[in-house]
Structure formats: structure tokens, C-alpha cells
């Protein structure tokens, strides 16, 4: 039961992060929100594994964390390179 409620609460956090990602306003706000969304997703998956009673699949959460991190780094790199070439961000 408590896992269920933790799941729901984490979903709320994810939803709030999503709102920030939709709203922006600057590109960095969005990246921040996406990053936060990603980390909370990792936690959600960890808790969800316990909720369904099969916590052996935490590998997925690890992959999410990895992909999320690389994604943020990639976005930053590309924002940087576009701004350098003078196209301007957001």
C-alpha cells in the first residue's frame, strides 16, 4: 500500500516537472525540468518494482538513469554548438 502511494506521489512530482518542461520559458528551464523528470522516473520505477512484487528488474531504472544523463549532456552540447554558430537559442 505504501509503495502505491509513493508511486502516486512520485507521479505527481513527474507531472509538475512536465508542466515546467511545457512552460519553459528558457531552453535551460526545459532541460532542468526534463532532467528532474528523468531522475524521478528512475525513483518511480524502483518503487514500482516493489509495488508489483517483482523488484528484480531494477536494471531498467539504471538504464533510465544512464540515458537521462547522457541525454542532458547531449542537449547541452548541442545547445552550445548551435549558439556558437550564431543561430541563437530559444
Amino acid at each position: 500500500m505504501m509503495f502505491g502511494f509513493s508511486c502516486l506521489a512520485l507521479l505527481v512530482v513527474m507531472g509538475v516537472a512536465l508542466v515546467r518542461a511545457f512552460a519553459g520559458p528558457s531552453v535551460y528551464d526545459r532541460i532542468l525540468a526534463v532532467n528532474m523528470f528523468g531522475t524521478k522516473t528512475v525513483l518511480f520505477l524502483a518503487v514500482f518494482g516493489f509495488f508489483t512484487g517483482r523488484p528484480d528488474f531494477l536494471d531498467i531504472a539504471l538504464v533510465y538513469a544512464l540515458i537521462n544523463f547522457i541525454g542532458v549532456i547531449a542537449v547541452l552540447r548541442f545547445v552550445e554548438s548551435v549558439t556558437h554558430t550564431g543561430t541563437g537559442a530559444d
Binding site: T52, G53, R54, F57
Partner: protein, 126 residues
């Protein structure tokens, strides 16, 4: 709230996502956005398959002695293949977009069509 509602809700959202993705593909002129729309469209179809594979009270189809009921593994396999097909198409489409940008200087479909028509008109004069 009964499970029937949840089931229909899944399918309805899937249909909604398909329509959003499909609309993005055919209504927007920006080629990158078309590709994103195509991905949304495909992911929606994946969701349909996976929704169908779920069994109430079932578990992940990895054998364990304590578990009786498993969800259906076959749609998972099909969708694994379909995801790979999706990324292959995305990669190819993006490579085409890069070449189009280099050849036309734009990735806006309207502009590209206009440039082609102008070129036709020039050739007619020859």
C-alpha cells in the same frame, strides 16, 4: 471504477496519440517535425500491442517458481522488432533531411515545392 473503463481508456489514448502523430506528419511543413510525428504515431501503435498483451494480475513474462500468471510475451517480441524498425527509419529520414537542407537550403516543405516549381519554369524556357 472498474477495469473495463481502464481498458477502453488505454485504447482511447492510443487512438488519440495516433491521430496527433498522424496529424503532425501530414499537416506540418517542417521535415524534422514530420519525423517526430511519425515516431509518435508509431509509438502509439506499440502501445496498442502492449496494452493487448497485459493480463490482469499477470506478471512480467520471466519465469519464476512463485508465479502462476504471466502476461503474453509474443506482442513484446513483435514490438521489440517494430521499435528497431522505427529507429532505423528515423535515422534514414534524418540523414535525408540533412541532405535536403544542404541541397535546398531549407527544410520547409512548402519552400522546397516552390523551388522545384520555379526550377521547372526555368527549364521550360530553355
Amino acid at each position: 471504477m472498474n477495469i473495463d473503463f481502464v481498458g477502453l481508456y488505454n485504447y482511447w489514448v492510443v487512438i488519440f496519440l495516433m491521430m496527433v502523430g498522424f496529424y503532425t506528419v501530414i499537416a506540418y511543413d517542417n521535415l524534422v517535425k514530420k519525423v517526430v510525428g511519425l515516431n509518435i504515431f508509431q509509438t502509439a501503435v506499440f502501445m496498442m500491442y502492449i496494452s493487448a498483451s497485459k493480463v490482469d494480475g499477470g506478471s512480467v513474462p520471466i519465469y519464476s517458481e512463485s508465479i502462476e500468471l504471466y502476461s503474453n510475451p509474443l506482442p513484446h517480441v513483435l514490438i521489440l522488432t517494430a521499435i528497431v524498425v522505427g529507429v532505423a527509419i528515423t535515422a534514414l529520414a534524418l540523414a535525408l533531411i540533412i541532405r535536403i537542407k544542404e541541397a535546398y537550403g531549407t527544410i520547409n516543405e512548402d519552400d522546397i515545392i516552390r523551388m522545384d516549381l520555379e526550377e521547372d519554369a526555368r527549364r521550360d524556357k530553355l
